[in-house]
Point group: C2
């Protein structure tokens, strides 16, 4: 990595590198925490986890210097990357560019610790899993960088998971909006929040392989996308579970009461579907991360009872399959085509949810991969075989 | 450790804990550095090494919370512990007490990262090996603490190394001055600079075992020492080497020229002995840490030649044996007694150096331990057998 950084520097570019922790390090650190206590305090877990990136920025800076370059590491409190105070999943409020500009102004490479920040009073915070992507985008935005290159273990964004669709194609250029829908749909190449941040600030992301010099995928503002395919890619998310409140009386304010405790507990609700009420009651179904299912069920049980729901049931055995594409805005019938393709495979749809440029269906877990292949082929996304 | 901290807190004391890294961690981190480069940049090595204490303050805070206490970790930049900018061996300029006072004012335990600080512009610095002792003393001084308890792997300061003198006695109370002379003489219980700092700021240190509740050793201002023994303890330092410039012309300014490059290179010179000049030339001998010997010899070779010295020779095969005691100030004859005791054992003295309350002799390495035993017994320091 030091060699690649120096090559860019020697090509005349100002370079700021954002480093994440070494593979497995964050887990190792949190493992130490579990050795000393059952439920690690979140503030202290952030102090602990932030050392992972502190180690890599120091090592990468040394490695750059060893190759004859000049580099200066910068930690969250030095940059400063200022976040809110929500430990373990902090949001970046601002990245102060002065110290970085000072370093690159001297011709040195700035090596910034990803994943970490400080809150307004100087407590160490972290951004959550994959947060280094977001750090990189935020730094790029603060500096008005030409682009933010994200080096990862795959060589780009694909029309579908190549492990599922043998003929999946690398996408050369995709809009932030589409990438966001695919990331939310389970395409794990980039952290969702990093794409969101990039879209809001117009940061051009170049997804590249850490291991070779391939062309990768550009994730860019919609204005730079001349092509607007109806469907750009298919994604599958297998880490969700669904909760259904059966027979909820149809009166106003019920949904607010049901979801308030989840929001307060910081549980992210993904899809929400409510059937049109018949006979004065309705079924309300939503999905959460599988890891949150137990808490979610126990949190909604009380309000569900108060609201008069007949029962609360849950199902972990689901997969969410999504297709996304800018062209959906102007082309009707994509949803209809999706339903037909799945029906032809006898795949039953448990939930359906649509946004402007994405359609997601929840299906039985065992049918997920088959659904992806049917959609990938049906929308003609693969390489010609 | 969390249990001991909480016991103090529950006894009604405000408690500030200074934590060092886990055993072996600093070496592990610097090993990582050597994997990426031959000569790690010192600024970055400090960023790297400082993670060791960041890990332990987080873990200790969690452990205290797990036992039902309240604790808040504070890193060097949060406290703030402000040092000069000399990486890897920074000196503390000041410890700002406000943030710690705020934490203990809320009844919480403040868990401060030892060994680390920041310079005036916010770069991470470290204090050098054993620096956490100095951090603890500096924090105690800034807060005006009743005492600074230093938990270590021995149960106190002894009249001599019990591994050398079977009948060595734990010292219940010793002055900063004596402790300083013994530490400089190779008694490794406390880091030299921590004792120096404690003496300057009147901090009472209580050296205690991490493993039991024994009485330990109090290191206190001289005014609190009613007893003033001629000799409080015997120490041996085996990690020095000596350099001799033979036949240095006897003119003013020579010593300054010889030692300037060593000072500039940050090499600490311990003993310096110059014989009275005979025939217009003299021999100049000094000792340095064994690890610095190679650099020291090559640094003085140039100025030695310029000064007209006949040759530069060195010897690693030495040990420095010291006796220290406040009583030396008022009792003549301690040095004479020391020389007699060593002569009775046929131990040859290579160098002699005296301070107000200490006498050090350099002897051949192989005779070092025998010298310690002779002095320990001769000055009656041991337990009555």
């Amino acid at each position: 990595m030091a060699g690649r950084v120096l090559a860019e520097r020697r090509a005349g570019h100002d370079v700021v590198v954002v480093a994440s922790a070494m593979a497995g390090e964050t887990d190792r650190l949190l493992g130490l925490a579990r050795q000393v206590c059952g439920d690690p305090n979140r503030r202290e877990a952030d102090v602990l986890a932030a050392t992972g990136e502190q180690v890599t920025v120091a090592l990468l800076s040394m490695a750059i210097q060893d190759l004859g370059g000049e580099a200066v590491s910068l930690l969250g409190h030095q940059v400063r990357v200022v976040t809110d105070g929500v430990h373990a999943r902090a949001h970046i409020r601002r990245v102060e560019p002065d110290r970085i500009l000072e370093v690159i102004g001297r011709g040195q490479v700035a090596v910034v610790a990803g994943f970490q920040g400080i809150d307004e009073v100087g407590n160490v915070t972290t951004l959550g899993r994959g947060g280094s992507d977001t750090s990189a985008v935020a730094v790029a935005a603060a500096l008005g960088a030409q682009s933010c290159e994200i080096f990862t273990d795959v060589d780009g964004v694909y029309t579908a998971d190549p492990g599922i669709c043998k003929n999946a194609r690398r996408i050369a250029r995709i809009s932030h909006e589409e990438m966001l829908e695919l990331a939310g749909g389970g395409a794990k190449v980039l952290q969702f929040r990093s794409v969101e941040f990039a879209m809001r600030h117009g940061v051009r992301i170049h997804v590249r392989s850490s291991f070779d010099d391939g062309p990768g995928t550009w994730v860019v503002p919609e204005s730079e996308c001349s092509e607007q395919p109806m469907v750009s890619g298919v994604a599958i998310e297998r880490n969700e579970a669904q909760v259904t409140l059966v027979g909820v009386p149809d009166r106003s304010g019920v949904a607010a009461e049901i979801f308030r405790p989840l929001a307060q507990a910081g549980i992210v609700v993904d899809m929400i579907v409510q059937n049109a009420a018949t006979g004065g009651s309705t079924d309300l179904t939503f999905t959460v991360a599988r890891a949150d299912l137990g808490r979610a069920v126990s949190l909604v049980r009380g309000p569900a009872e108060v609201a008069g729901a007949r029962r609360v049931q849950s199902d972990e055995n689901i997969a969410k399959v999504s297709v996304a594409g800018l062209g959906m805005r102007s082309h009707a019938g994509v949803a209809q085509r999706m339903f037909e393709l799945l029906a032809a495979e006898s795949i039953n749809l448990v939930m359906i949810s649509t946004s402007e440029i994405k359609i997601s269906c929840v299906v039985e877990a065992s049918q997920g991969e088959r659904a992806v292949r049917a959609l990938h082929d049906g929308f003609g996304l693969g390489n010609p075989s």
